[in-house]
């Protein structure tokens, strides 16, 4: 078997296990108290960690574009506008600085 097929089958097993495992784990945790509060907060904290990781791995250009995108997100709440401003800003900064 070639490397791409080994990686495909291995990633398929690992990824599906993670997805299914989360559902099974989540359903075994209590529905009230600290565990429930933590699980309810998880989407927000995970998204914020994702954004922080991407910005910390970038540089000043990414931080400026991220700040402008955040400003657009807060004022317009439009997904398309936020993506457009973020991409345009990072493109201009990378091209002209």
């Amino acid at each position: 078997m070639t490397d791409p097929w080994i990686v495909t089958l291995g990633l398929c097993a690992g990824t599906f296990s993670a997805r299914l495992g989360g559902i099974l784990l989540g359903q075994r945790l209590p529905t009230g108290g600290a565990w429930a509060r933590a699980l309810n907060a998880l989407p927000g904290t995970l998204i914020v960690a994702l954004v922080a990781g991407q910005l910390f791995q970038g540089g000043l250009n990414e931080w400026i574009a991220g700040a402008l995108a955040a400003a657009v997100a807060f004022t317009t709440r439009s997904l398309v506008l936020t993506m457009a401003v973020g991409i345009a800003t990072v493109y201009v900064l990378r091209t002209y600085t």
């Binding site: 997805r19 907060a41 995970l46 910005l55 997904l79 991409i87």
Partner: protein, 228 residues
């Protein structure tokens, strides 16, 4: 809402993000061509794995000559966060037949998960079929674009040069805005950012582990310090 209506609204609302996925998919196809993969192998990987970032990291390792074991470990480490993703929407799967659980699990990605969770936080009565509708849109976009990318690799420009790699960062910033529920999120979110910053700056963890640790640390603060 009926399941069909929910499915369609999920499919419709994922379209801006699916456009971003198409561009990423084309870029992945170019990478797959460098790993000597063909249309069949690329399509099989997209269908069976359906996790963009992990596929990119794993195939990039293959291209770098790291071997299949190192490529697998890198990809799976990045996907451990999916445990947290599906655990946070455990309610969607209660009482469903096994094939719906399997379908919803396979279709759970960062993008449609965040979209459906944000819609619920905004007070909308959506759940499982909204997630699956968004997942179906992303799946079609991802498999189609990655196969097109590998077949037409020589004609595709580098996405970083166009700033398009920033599309998902910007999208997640908007989704974070939608999930924000006021000052009680301040301590958990601040903890997440601080943990990621420390883990990356000190070089103690690579980005995929820093992300998981940051998300868990923030949720733990909400669980321990919060009140209902």
């Amino acid at each position: 809402m009926t399941p069909a209506m929910e499915f369609r609204s999920g499919l419709r609302e994922i379209m801006p993000l699916a456009m971003g996925v198409v561009i990423y998919g084309l870029a992945f196809g170019v990478l797959a061509a460098q790993a000597m993969m063909g249309g069949l192998e690329t399509g099989a990987m997209g269908t069976l794995v359906f996790a963009g970032a992990a596929q990119i990291v794993a195939v990039e390792r293959l291209v770098a000559g790291a071997g299949s074991v190192a490529a697998l470990v890198a990809g799976i480490a990045l996907n451990l966060r999916l445990i947290l993703v599906t655990a946070s929407i455990r309610d969607f799967f209660v009482g469903r037949p096994w094939w719906q659980v399997a379908l919803g699990a396979h279709f759970s990605t960062d993008e449609n998960w965040a979209m459906t969770v944000a819609a619920r936080k905004a007070g909308r009565d959506v759940g499982y079929w909204h997630l699956v509708g968004g997942g179906a849109g992303l799946f079609t976009a991802w498999v189609g674009a990655t196969v097109a990318g590998v077949l037409f690799a020589s004609a595709i420009p580098e996405p970083r040069a166009l700033g398009i790699d920033f599309a998902f960062t910007a999208a997640f910033i908007l989704i974070a805005r939608t999930l924000w529920q006021g000052h009680r999120d301040l301590a958990p979110w601040g903890t997440s950012v601080a943990v990621v910053a420390i883990a990356l700056w000190s070089r103690m963890l690579d980005p995929s582990w820093a992300l998981i640790l940051g998300g868990v640390a923030g949720a733990a603060v909400a669980g321990i310090a919060g009140d209902d």
